[in-house]
Amino acid sequence: MDDAANSGISEPLDLVKLSLGERVFIKLRGDRTVTGVLHAYDAHMNVVLSQVEETIHIVDVTEDGNPLPPRIEKRNLEMLFVRGDGVILISPTQQ
């Protein structure tokens, strides 16, 4: 792949490699997202993050089965290991 414009990205994992030490956004299965500083990753996309903010999107259901408006829950974590099989998407955050 001779794409000079992509500053040395020749396989998808290079995009993750270039994000080491940077803040990344990760979308996970189960309507969860996390952002944090990327410290380590492997081929499974197991990931270690620090200064993490986790966001969970919850849709509660009333007793008769109707969905309530979505609710967002956040929490902050100092250090986090994410198991790779839950990962959908990783993107370096803007700025």
């Binding site: 794409d3 992509n6 396989e11 956004f25």
Partner: protein, 89 residues
Amino acid sequence: MDSASPQPEEQAAAAGSPSEFLKNIVGKRVKVRIGSGVDYHGLLTCLDGYMNVALEETEEWSNGRKTAEYGDCFLRGNNVLYISVLEAL
């Protein structure tokens, strides 16, 4: 595809085969649909035998609405339902 078993990359790739298709679509505008039905539209930077994908200028579409934009984005291959080209080959 099981993430423990990458595609053998150096085989005599027949015309029209998946590996040949993947070679031909790098740099093209693609739509990647994942199992949950969410779509990612973007410029295909590169991909590998696990169908891991790197996209540029990515838009996330869900239920007919744009839900996010990412400059660069890595999609883990096991989630990929299909990769479809949005422009002529």
